[in-house]
Symmetry: C2
Subunit: 373 residues, 2 copies
Amino acid sequence: MRIGEFELITTDPDTAARRGVLHTAHGEIHTPLFMPVGTRATVKGMLPSRLRELGAQTILSNTYHLFLRPGTDIIEEAGGLRSFMGWDGTVLTDSGGFQVFSLADTVKVTDDGVAFNSILDGAKHFWTPEDNVAIQEQLGADIFMQLDQCPPYPAEKETVATAVRRSAQWARRCADARKREDQLLFGIVQGGVFADLRAESIERLVEVGFPGYGIGGYSVGEPHEMMLESLEPVCGLLPSDQPRYLMGVGNPTTILRAVALGVDMFDCVLPTRTARLGTAFSSEGRLNLRNARFARDTGPLDPECACPTCATYPRSYLRHLVTTKEMLGAILLTEHNLFYLLDLTRRAREAIEEHRYADFLARWLNSPAAADY
Amino acid sequence: MRIGEFELITTDPDTAARRGVLHTAHGEIHTPLFMPVGTRATVKGMLPSRLRELGAQTILSNTYHLFLRPGTDIIEEAGGLRSFMGWDGTVLTDSGGFQVFSLADTVKVTDDGVAFNSILDGAKHFWTPEDNVAIQEQLGADIFMQLDQCPPYPAEKETVATAVRRSAQWARRCADARKREDQLLFGIVQGGVFADLRAESIERLVEVGFPGYGIGGYSVGEPHEMMLESLEPVCGLLPSDQPRYLMGVGNPTTILRAVALGVDMFDCVLPTRTARLGTAFSSEGRLNLRNARFARDTGPLDPECACPTCATYPRSYLRHLVTTKEMLGAILLTEHNLFYLLDLTRRAREAIEEHRYADFLARWLNSPAAADY
């Protein structure tokens, strides 16, 4: 198989859900999939071997953070992100655009590129789309994302329109600047909640042509209902034979609903960040392990879960670890939450293969777990 | 084999080193051994399954900390420490005496017992030796230690003598208070650097009779040379057919020298605590991973080490994790440092079996690693 080829194994007869395989330089990616986030080239507290056991296929890392520290040249010298972080699976890097626009104190964007200050030491940096491609080629991920401009939500239509056009120009410049053949560059759809701008964005990107498309501009604040409404026409306009990646979404219900609309890839810090705060996903909904009601509870975290945490430890131990701020508490809840989402998407793939995704989704939406998201 | 039986497989012909097996309710403990410390029922950042893979046999946990939080009744309800912490190996608990005397603001000791305040909330507690046995029976470790009085170093001989006599009385009361048959109670030798007091302490303890003996009163401040000097007569006076446990010692050189004098068991927070501070044991001596010289170093942490950390990650990655305070940095260095000590003691056992311990020790003392301890 050629790198970048996206095989559609089957599509669901009653929804727009698809079961696919994306071929990359370091193996197959089975979709739909959830990608754990390893911001600084580490999924916090997780051994790479353990991530494999939990079912992770692809780790997402953040170019912005790695560019500032340790520096992308250091990662290149180690042989790229996979060797640097000891991960034998596939890797995706975002461009860092989202962090530039959301984290930096002072951002100045022109058609040429984006000027920003480091959150670490205030140092000034300037990225053209070409610079950003060179930086992401140093990181060497299997998939990398174009530099785009992310307007905040809510934004005036005029602001969003400018971002759409500029991002489309940058998409072409990123595509032209590429030097490596073993990496896949994805374009990113912008346009916020404006249907005509989304359509324009897609038209311009498809003209350039990419092996996959990120759907961006959602994670900056829109309510999930609005996002899902505008997602249906977006999926309708995107090429059917390339993967679609809804960036920054990790809510189980939103993932499963977006899969029904034809989305293939997801990433989010939600499962890992909430775990570190002591909250576990479960078949009963979210559980806050700090709660005193778990102090003497010798039952498993989630009786319906097959993860190692649920198989091994009583709730009273997990509460003890969380309340005493022991590292192992964050580790065990992170393992559980990641398994929860990875297993949910694995079961979604199975349901699509067996042409019963509509039923799978309906059962989820009626479950006590879904009520909590 | 009977619980508590200590088989001496062989003794080294040129030193007093012994290769033994202690039989406990949950399996054999092969000596000499190093026991990782899991203060609050967790070796910080370590999954129990991973500790097994690294070669850990026995985990030490601290009664003082567990008594205050979550409470030993909660651990008993979960089925004891092993079930609570999901560890299928053996467990040893200290009495908490050491922490009472070193951590509490106000300690008042009488022949009856010890009154102290909680470091968490100042609450007043009082332990008789009998109370302490009941508490440690709730924890249910395979081996537990008598409550003793630990005088600080340096201390007047009179103070040490009082502690020796009181600890010996408490040893008898602990032995008499026991209700469970599946746990081994060890007495603790006191006496500081005073040879006659050490001898008196041993005589009194042996009169009671224990399946093993802790050697205490050393970790409160004596220089290692003084400790080693006084250790030889202590080992000479202790029964040869029971294990000897030098409490709180984890320096590799001191461990190997003490093994040559006939010590069988060790524990210390040194490997785990220094790991969390960014320092790795290595064949070149200690390495501080914060050092800028590792920023672009793509070599393994220790080329002579067979642990998963050394097999997988470049030094530049470990430095990145340590300097960005990522949990994984502490985890990977902890794994490495524990493997280092567990592997060193495994090789010590092998050397004793092959009657070449004197040579093994001499090689260690001449190595670059030893120079750093």
